[in-house]
């Protein structure tokens, strides 16, 4: 049943951004805290540690528990199952037991009838700690042997030998800070007891199965006794991939033990101090080039600040290594990474998942070489871009490469040479205002690097009135997943979009889901939807042919609900034929399954083919720096992005713009500040700033490199969630270059973000 025509026939299908949006603008979309409270619902408040490391000497909550309205205060000993929430490594208790390892670590849970009672109890609890030394710096942790997991090393060729053949060899150090997710909806869950010793949990999570697994473990019951339901998230960005589980487990524990509905929603300051962020990295690099500026060798050592527990840091560490050479062909690579244990909240996934941190160091290395040799970085960048047949340090051979095509398309449109001249002329004219520019190519591998996770399932029901329900393991968090799932089902069946409803993500409907992460949600779940639809079609086609006496070799398909036979419209339609199919007892429901083929990775050799494909692109960033005040404005970002054959340009442009601005925020104004005692100083929206409408680039121009090459993306429409974030790294270098135009003797280091403070200090410093 070919349905090729449906998409091209319907122009609006490609700009369809989702059924949710009508409700979003009218305030009708339901988030966890909007779910109507059931009678007797309890409020769950976390009592957390105020010190970053120490022994708990005494814990006195008798007075707090006796307050009116307080039902029970839970400590580690009240946990009915295992006091353990660690996903990859079991190293993180739900509630501290004897020791605390970071400021904000949950110690007790207060269950109360009102928020006010919970709040009052919080202030009545007395804890005595015996403080232990606090480590916040990953290098210090490394020196003391404090690692979360074993270190990793990717190796290609022989760097030691290669450096001997290099004309130029440079070394340096870089620092890149973390990033607060700042999803607008804070972490939270709502749980209530159900029959057979079970619980139903509404969670704001990217990983429903992870929540289910954690709740089952903490409660000491089977996963089949935990039903997790997710309608949507008010933003996730990785922060709710693993870390939503703790708060779901807390609500579920209270509901399970007290047999009452229970809600645990963090307020903003709790969320900021208790949850982990993007991992900061400290890195050393050594880079060697020949006289033609071809990079021959690159060594890099990353010290990842993992925080107090592993969380997802081991996997993030791995992706840092995968992306340590960004989009450059380097024949000799030695990349080492250590996941260091510090007394900060466990750091976690954040859009890019360690990739951006790896790329940042590579770009610093190139920039450093360029400054030392008196050339612009783009000269070196362009000479070293990947080509088909090159080998990544992890053994995958580059194919369907678009690194050069993206760069060259951009170059053709803007002429880097002309920009250089314009900026130089401007800087000569203006003493106190300087402009800078940078180029930022990206290459991002698509697939979970943990091969196991590259699977998905979908449940498709065709109801007897012809309407269609689609359930997948993917979570809608603003990325347009539901729109894409509807498009896939509409295309497969040849029906109009209004027939299709995407259901909430529910672990009783679709099981063993992978988190909505790694940019892969649409690919994995979309292919599972395709599979389910195809199964139904395989039952429908012979039935329709028989029912309507159509020849066995004739081609039939639906276009916008109308049945076509050999390309000619009939008077039969979907609704009518489904009704008959039901009467004739055709199975109109199917479960689809997809597991990405080809991919593999061997951690013992650190070699394999981990990615289904790569996404490429190049960004040009132009900025203006006010050299009196040390402030800056972003003038323009122009991007050529490798979108494959975008199935929904409206959604994909939105992902590019949003990702870019998030990346710019990370590189410029977003500064996570802990003091030496491990206490978060940037602990509210008043002290942690993300881009507002005035701080985004005056112009963002995104053009898709449209290709129809075969790939493993859903409908050849390449994954788009994470890659654009890394264009934001360009803002760092553009601003830095403007600082250098004012003060060539600056002592400014490679330390992101480049806040107005770093700019001003850079403008007026001397080597």
């Amino acid at each position: 049943m070919s349905t090729k025509k449906t998409i091209s026939d319907s122009k609006d299908i490609k700009s369809f951004t989702g059924p949710d949006f009508y409700n979003h603008v009218a305030g009708k979309s339901i988030y966890v805290d909007d779910i109507p409270a059931m009678e007797g619902m309890l409020f769950v408040k976390v009592f957390d540690s105020v010190i970053a490391h120490g022994k708990i000497l005494s814990l006195d909550y008798t007075a707090a528990e006796q307050l009116e309205g307080v039902v029970k205060i839970f400590s580690a000993k009240d946990i009915t199952g295992e006091n353990q929430i660690g996903g990859i490594i079991p190293d993180e208790p739900l509630l501290a037991d004897g020791e605390v390892h970071f400021c904000g670590q949950p110690v007790l849970l207060i269950a109360a009838e009102t928020e006010d009672a919970a709040e009052e109890a919080y202030h009545k609890i007395k804890v005595e700690y015996d403080p232990l030394p606090v480590i916040t710096n990953p290098r210090e942790a490394f020196a003391k042997g404090k690692l979360l997991t074993s270190s990793r090393k990717f190796q290609l060729g022989d760097t030691t030998a290669a450096f001997k053949n290099c004309t130029y060899v440079f070394e340096g150090t870089t620092e890149v800070n973390g990033q607060e997710h700042l999803y607008l909806e804070t972490q939270g869950a709502y749980a209530y007891p159900t029959e057979h010793n079970s619980v139903r949990v509404y969670s704001s999570t990217q990983g429903p199965t992870q929540v289910q697994k954690t709740v089952a473990r903490v409660l000491g019951i089977g996963m089949n006794q935990v039903e997790v339901d997710v309608a949507r998230l008010g933003g996730g960005f990785g922060g709710k991939e693993d870390q939503a589980s703790a708060y779901a487990a807390m609500a579920a524990l209270v509901a399970y033990v007290l047999k009452k509905p229970a809600k645990c929603i963090l307020n903003r300051m709790e969320d900021m101090r208790m949850t982990g962020k993007r991992n900061p990295y400290s890195s050393d690099f050594k880079i060697g080039l020949d006289k033609e500026l071809k990079i021959l060798a690159y060594e890099v050592t990353h010290y990842q600040n993992g925080g107090a527990a592993a969380d997802l840091s081991p996997a993030i560490l791995e992706r840092t290594l995968f992306h340590s050479t960004n989009s450059y062909n380097i024949p000799n690579v030695l990349a080492t990474a250590h996941s260091c244990k510090t007394n900060l909240p466990p750091n976690t996934a954040f859009r890019g998942f360690g990739g951006p941190q790896g790329m940042y160091v590579m770009e610093c290395a190139i920039d450093y070489v360029a400054k030392q040799l008196g050339v612009t970085a783009d000269i070196i960048q362009r000479k070293n871009l990947l080509k088909d047949g090159d080998e990544f340090s992890y053994g995958q051979i580059v194919s369907a490469c678009e690194a050069e095509s993206c760069w060259d398309k951009l170059e053709k449109e803007v002429s880097i040479e002309k920009i250089k001249e314009e900026i130089n002329a401007f800087n000569k004219e203006n003493k106190l205002i300087k402009k800078g520019y940078s180029l930022m190519p990206i290459c991002f591998g698509i697939s979970f690097t943990n091969t196991m996770l590259n699977q998905a399932r979908a449940l498709v029901h065709v109801y007897l009135d012809g309407s269609i329900g689609v359930s997948t393991g993917g979570v809608e968090m603003g990325q347009g997943l539901n729109a894409k799932m509807m498009q896939v089902a509409a295309k497969e069946f040849g029906v109009s979009l209004i027939r299709i409803k995407v259901e909430s993500t529910n672990t009783s409907r679709v099981v063993n889901t992978s988190p909505s992460a790694a940019s892969s949600t649409a690919d994995l779940n979309g292919k599972a939807v395709q599979d389910a639809c195809k199964q139904i079609q395989e039952r429908l086609v012979p039935f329709i042919k028989q029912e309507l006496s159509i020849g066995i070799n004739d081609t039939i398909y639906f276009v916008q609900d109308i049945l076509y036979v050999n390309g000619i419209a009939t008077t039969h339609n979907w609704k009518q034929l489904i009704a008959i199919a039901y009467v004739k007892r055709i199975n109109l429901s199917a479960k689809g399954h997809y597991a990405t083929p080809v991919i593999n990775f061997d951690k013992t050799t650190e070699k394999g083919h981990p990615f289904a494909y790569h996404v490429y692109g190049t960004a040009l960033t132009k900025v203006t720096v006010d050299c009196l005040r040390g402030t800056y404005e972003l003038d323009t970002v122009k991007i050529v992005h490798d979108a494959g054959a975008s199935m929904n340009p409206a959604v994909d442009i939105g992902q590019c713009e949003g990702g870019l601005v998030q990346g710019i925020g990370w590189m410029t104004m977003e500064e996570v500040v802990y003091n030496e005692n491990g206490k978060l100083l940037s602990n509210a929206l008043s002290t942690y700033k993300i881009p507002d409408i005035y701080s985004v680039p005056n112009e963002i121009d995104i053009e898709f490199l449209k290709t129809e090459k075969d790939n493993l993306a859903i409908l050849k429409s390449k994954a788009v969630g994470e890659p654009p974030l890394m264009y934001g790294i360009g803002a760092y270098f553009a601003i830095r270059n403007a600082v250098l135009a004012f003060n060539p003797n600056t002592n400014i280091t490679y330390h992101a973000p480049i806040t107005p403070e770093k700019v001003l200090m850079g403008l007026y410093s001397k080597k």
Partner: protein
């Protein structure tokens, strides 16, 4: 008992007058469109429209309901997204969809309400006004470009809006539902806010933008004295060479005043650096004074105008004498600011306000500074007022520097000496807004920015003075 109209519903409530409008609409009325994002006015997810009479005219402004105490809604119209929803999407809602201005949706309602406020504001019509209306709304998903497009569509749509009494047109064009036509009449039937007698167990509150950030748990249980709507505290007048400002004048009313615009033509350029539109709609200038934050923008601003404050006790002091230490004021617990006044700057004076923060807008200053200089024809400084925030325990009037500058010409040498004196007058500390070294350097730069505004070339000075 507080009486007001919530959307199309007449409300009488005995909820504590210090509890927030956000909690009232969400958890008492279950209007779940209004979201909880940060509870400190920094994200805009809880934005509602507030209709009240200004000069006997019903005017709607966007405000963050998380900071707004219930006492401040007496006799007003509170509009949540449920109050603008109609059988079909409004043009604002449609524009947000047409431009893909929504992704996860959590901030979206805030944008919808702020943009609805923009189309209802008869003094606003340009694209710049539309962007200004949403400058207090934070979105983490879109990167704002799509929302800018929605703002553009709307500013084009309202070119045909009548310049006065636009309600009819707004209803006809489905921006707001029919019931808005009767709101004015219905509101006039509600008694005006009653000013309770001042007693020690009643908490006086202005816009709530500081108190509800810092003492939320205290305020929400308190009975409050509504200063915000006290008509005797809401005026800006000129009496001969003096400007008099009632204590409850908001930053928005200040920047919109033609009296102020005449004296300070750049006023809107300065206030753009101060918080956001919804906060400026709520925050009172006197509230900024008594909060005594070391970086209070309006305090720094008014210090350079050498403002005075008059208490309800009748006592009058210079603003610069109000501060005695960190959050320590020369003010008794019973004293409330009644009036703020300043002398009209002498003709030929140049005023300037500077502020640098991590994010240029909707942020707290790392350092802010204001300066009022009057040079005579020979270039000699006749009078000087200079203030700086973020460089000491309270908003600082730089007395020594100002005294030094008076009677001198702005030569390179004088400027350098002034900078040295200034550096000895301040004592910045390192915190989340910057290291003390940075703040000292920034203070110097902002002072040079003041000098630059006098028409003096400062580039050479930058090269001469090493950091």
């Amino acid at each position: 008992m507080i009486e007001f109209i919530l959307n199309n519903q007449h409300i009488k409530t005995t909820q504590p007058s210090g509890s927030t409008v956000l909690d009232f609409v969400r958890y008492h009325k279950r209007l779940m469109g209004t979201k909880v994002g940060c509870r400190e006015g920094d994200c805009g997810a809880c934005t509602v429209l507030v209709g009240s009479f200004e000069n006997n005219k019903l005017v709607y402004r966007n405000m963050t309901s998380c900071l707004m105490p219930l006492t401040n809604v007496q006799g007003k119209h509170i509009v949540t997204v449920e109050g603008i929803n109609q059988s079909e999407l409004t043009p604002v809602q449609q524009a947000m969809i047409d431009t893909n201005g929504t992704q996860c949706g959590f901030c979206t309602i805030g944008f919808v309400m702020s943009l609805t406020g923009f189309v209802m504001n008869e003094t606003c019509c340009s694209y710049t006004d539309a962007i200004k209306a949403i400058d207090g709304n934070i979105c983490r998903c879109t990167g704002y470009k799509s929302i800018e497009k929605a703002a553009n569509i709307l500013s084009n749509k309202i070119t045909e809006r009548p310049t006065s009494n636009a309600t009819e047109w707004l209803v006809e064009n489905k921006f707001i539902p029919e019931y808005f036509k009767n709101i004015e009449d219905r509101l006039r039937l509600i008694p005006n806010p009653v000013s309770q007698p001042n007693s020690s167990d009643v908490l006086p509150i202005g816009g709530g933008t500081d108190l509800n950030v810092q003492k939320h748990h205290l305020v929400k249980k308190s009975e409050t004295l509504n200063l915000f709507d006290n008509p005797s505290l809401k005026y800006i007048t000129q009496v001969t060479d003096e400007i008099k400002i009632g204590a409850s004048v908001t930053v928005a009313a200040f920047e919109e005043s033609t009296i102020i615009q005449n004296i300070l033509p750049d006023i809107k350029k300065y206030t753009k650096l101060i918080s956001s539109s919804p906060i400026r709609n709520m925050a009172t200038i006197a509230g900024n004074f008594v909060n005594a934050s070391p970086i209070g923008d309006m305090t720094i601003f008014m210090l350079a105008l050498n403002a005075k404050v008059v208490f309800n006790s009748g006592r009058e002091i210079y603003l610069k004498d109000l501060y005695k230490g960190y959050k320590q004021l020369d003010k008794t617990k019973e004293e409330l600011i009644q009036e703020i006044s300043f002398k009209l700057p002498i003709t030929g004076s140049v005023f300037n306000f500077e502020k640098v923060s991590k994010r240029t807008h909707l942020d707290i200053a790392s350092v802010n500074s204001a300066c009022l200089l009057k040079l005579n024809n020979e270039g000699i400084i006749e009078s000087a007022h200079l203030s700086a925030g973020g460089v000491g325990p309270y908003p600082t009037y730089l007395t020594k520097t100002a005294t030094f500058l008076t009677g001198k010409k702005l030569t390179d040498d004088v400027i350098e000496q002034a900078i040295n004196i200034m550096q000895n007058e301040v004592s910045p500390i390192s915190d989340a807004r910057g290291t003390k070294e940075y703040k000292r350097l920034l203070l110097r730069q902002l002072f040079l920015a003041h000098i630059q505004k006098q028409g003096v070339e400062v580039f050479n000075l930058l090269n001469d003075i090493s950091a």
